[in-house]
């Protein structure tokens, strides 16, 4: 838990995490519709490894994951205010994104795949911590 990252590096970590999450979903969707070639399998594996590494170094080792998943009784009043603000923002972002995705899948008449659903659940858990990185100015470790 002593792993420290500057705010700038954390922001890069968030961008890498979301890009790898998106690429995992897109590669899976493409492979499902077209066919699973060897290159596609390698790409899927690489994006999954990048995703796991970026989550570990940006969220888990910095304590951000714990911070947004702690019981409210273990937070002080500034932390409660900060998590409340980040959760409110995350809820807005997440609900708009899910609405757009559901509308797209409904209009395109495509079935929802399990990777997309799992990614959305993961995204919902990562979003509050990601928003905090943008809200906090000085903190290197939560």
């Amino acid at each position: 838990m002593d792993y420290k990252l500057s705010i700038k590096r954390k922001k890069y970590g968030v961008v890498i995490t979301f890009i790898s999450l998106l690429s995992t979903v897109l590669i899976f969707e493409y492979g499902r519709i077209e066919h699973w070639s060897f290159v596609l399998r390698i790409l899927q594996l690489v994006s999954l490894i990048v995703l796991v590494l970026s989550i570990t170094f940006t969220y888990v080792k910095t304590g951000l994951w714990n911070f947004t998943h702690k019981p409210i009784e273990k937070l002080d009043e500034r932390e409660v205010a900060l998590t409340s603000k980040s959760l409110r923002l995350s809820y807005s972002i997440f609900s708009v994104l899910v609405l757009i995705l559901l509308m797209y899948f409904s209009i395109a008449e495509r079935p929802l795949n399990i990777v997309l659903v799992v990614s959305l659940v993961l995204f919902a858990h990562l979003l509050p911590a990601s928003v905090i990185i943008w809200l906090v100015k000085h903190t290197k470790k939560m």
Binding site: L75, D76, E77, R78, E79, A81, K137, H138, M142
Partner: protein, 79 residues
């Protein structure tokens, strides 16, 4: 409603008492990083937290917190 900025003398009083941010944080029951936010005046404490801080420094709240910037110590000493 946008909150007013609350100025404080926490850093000055803490250094005068020779206590670390961590020690002060333990005494008032917050994360030590919250002390940094308070000292930089980036976070306005609740009334409860303000009272806890005033109890630690054994000073009235109005000596520690103000809605107007505090005058530098040198100016106060000249008066």
């Amino acid at each position: 409603m946008k909150a007013r900025k609350i100025y404080n003398r926490i850093e000055l009083l803490r250094k005068e008492k020779s206590i670390t941010r961590k020690e002060l944080a333990n005494k008032i029951g917050v994360n030590f990083q919250t002390i940094g936010y308070l000292e930089r005046e980036e976070y306005n404490p609740s009334l409860d937290l303000a009272f806890r801080i005033s109890e630690v420094f054994e000073l009235p709240i109005e000596i520690i917190f103000s809605t107007k910037p505090f005058k530098p110590l040198s100016q106060l000493l000249i008066k």
